[in-house]
């Protein structure tokens, strides 16, 4: 039986940092991963309120 695909919650953080050529310690990655939900809410709130270009 095939096991369901697993997703690594740190992946978006690692990818964003990799694009900038940045490598950080695992504790930093864990911290930034924990901030993703807050950041997504913030981006969404600002996006909804911002006037259209």
């Amino acid at each position: 039986m095939e096991s369901p695909p697993t997703t690594d919650p740190t992946e978006p953080v690692r990818a964003a940092l990799a694009r900038a050529g940045i490598t950080l310690p695992p504790e930093d990655i864990a911290f930034l991963t924990a901030q993703q939900e807050m950041l997504a809410r913030t981006i969404e709130a600002v996006s909804k309120a911002a006037p259209r270009p």
Binding site: P12, V13, A16, L17, R19, A20, G21, I22, T23, L24, P25, E27, D28, F31, L32, Q35, Q36, L39, T42, I43, A45, V46, S47, A49, A50, P51, P53
Partner: protein, 442 residues
């Protein structure tokens, strides 16, 4: 004595500038081991005093004659390295020039005592993993002096300097001023040039004074911004407005709310009126600030973060790195929203001379490095006005339940700095004095 009175005494020859500077050096020697405010002392104090005596004899106009001033260690002062309390700059050579604010203070006769410590790179928070030890609030052993310009505030509050320069991106002058019982002024963005300053987020960064009173801040600002001070303002007929929506979004403690109410009642007795400032988008100011500040900081420091991540403490590193996760379209949205919020804030001044609100939700907490990443937010009332780029000042208004200062923030219209400082001086004179901290560090 006020700064103006002290400078007048020196200019008139009643007080010797070297003797005054030595008095402050002695206080630094006595207090800095416990309070960690000063990061470096200028090796040129005697030479500065000698130059000043020559200028006094020549009849130069010296409104700050002999005033000993500390400079936040994020700004260049010739002859001293600028380190921003960061390993990245641990081996920086002494600056060859002054940042314009420092140059203007020297031109007015000030004596630059040395550099005051700060949060590493002016960001993150207090840390025991930066090159300089964290500054301690003189109001209580172990109390947080706030940040990022904490050395500047601690130096003035403990009598190590008569005044200091700080930097403010989201509250970094007003918060330590509030926690340490001082006046701290954030000018309109762009009023004072930033060359020779280590930046955090350039569309938000400003340089401003911390001193014992708003009146002292007004004198320093007039010199640094090269604009004349505003004539005195009467409280009678003054229109103040509270942005209640901002306070509902991040409620102050009961003690802070009571201090605001008492201050407002006092001002009403002096003839001021207090109304509500409409700010319908209050909840968005801090979100918009966050995206802009973190994006700008990341753009500035990404290469250093990539090349030498170990040169930053974890708080700083993570504060900068979060900007990597903000997409460009989110910054574009925040930039457009910022203009809308600035317009909304402008409208709040239609029927008010100034906004009045707490500087922080609470008095200073204890320094606790184990909760560095989960501390309560101290800046929900200061960041909105950084985002808008308008002038704002914190003045002391009361002591909290733990005997630590509570600050009142006054906010003015864009560019109306001198008037706000005159208004703050009038308000400060009407409010009860909180006194000075007991000298437990001697």
């Amino acid at each position: 004595m006020t700064l103006a009175e002290t400078a007048a005494a020196i200019a008139a020859g009643r007080l010797d500038p070297a003797a005054l500077a030595n008095t402050y050096l002695a206080r630094i020697a006595q207090a800095n081991l416990r309070l960690h405010a000063m990061a470096a002392l200028a090796p040129t104090l005697e030479a500065q005093a000698k130059t000043l005596r020559t200028r006094i004899a020549r009849g130069d106009h010296l409104p700050l004659a002999g005033i000993p001033i500390a400079v936040k260690d994020a700004f260049d002062a010739a002859g001293l390295p600028t380190t921003a309390n960061a390993s990245l700059y641990a081996h920086a050579a002494p600056a060859t020039h002054d940042t314009p604010a420092v140059a203007r203070l020297r031109q007015a006769g000030a004596i630059i005592l040395g550099k005051a410590t700060c949060w590493e790179m002016s960001v993150g928070g207090p840390s025991d993993a930066s090159p300089q030890p964290p500054a301690i609030n003189p109001w209580a052993p172990g109390a947080d002096p706030g940040g990022s310009s904490n050395g500047s505030a601690v130096a003035v509050a403990s009598g190590m300097a008569m005044a200091a320069l700080g930097g403010d991106t989201g509250g970094s002058i007003r918060l330590p001023a509030s926690f340490c019982g001082l006046a701290g002024f954030k000018p309109t963005h762009g009023k004072i040039p930033l060359q020779g300053a280590i930046p955090f987020a350039e569309s938000l960064d400003v340089i401003g004074p911390l001193a014992r009173t708003a009146d002292d801040c007004a004198l320093l600002h007039a010199i640094m911004a090269a604009e004349p001070p505003h004539p005195p303002i009467s409280l009678h007929g003054l229109r103040l407005a509270i942005p209640h929506a901002l306070l509902r979004h991040s409620p102050p403690t009961a003690a802070m709310a009571e201090a605001l109410a008492e201050a407002c009642a006092t001002l009403e007795r002096h003839g001021a009126t207090i109304a509500e400032a409409p700010l319908p988008s209050a909840a968005l100011f801090n979100a918009c600030y966050f995206l802009i500040a973190r994006s700008e900081a990341f753009a500035l420091w990404r290469h250093a973060l990539a090349a030498t991540p170990d040169k930053f403490n974890p708080l700083t590193r993570r504060s900068f790195a979060i900007g990597a996760m903000i997409p460009p379209e989110a910054l574009a949205n925040a930039t457009r929203l910022r203009i809308t919020l600035q317009t909304e804030l402008d409208a709040a001044f239609a029927h008010a001379d100034a906004l009045i609100l707490p500087t922080t939700p609470d008095e200073a907490a204890d320094l606790d490095f184990t909760t560095a990443f989960s501390r309560p937010d101290t800046a929900p009332y200061t960041r909105p006005f950084s985002l808008a780029g308008v002038p704002a000042i914190s003045i002391p208004c009361a002591l909290g339940p733990r005997g630590r200062p509570l600050g009142l923030q006054l906010v003015g219209r864009h560019g109306d700095d001198a008037r706000l400082l005159a208004l703050a001086t009038a308000i400060e004179q009407a409010l009860p004095q909180i006194g000075s901290p007991k000298e437990w560090w001697t």
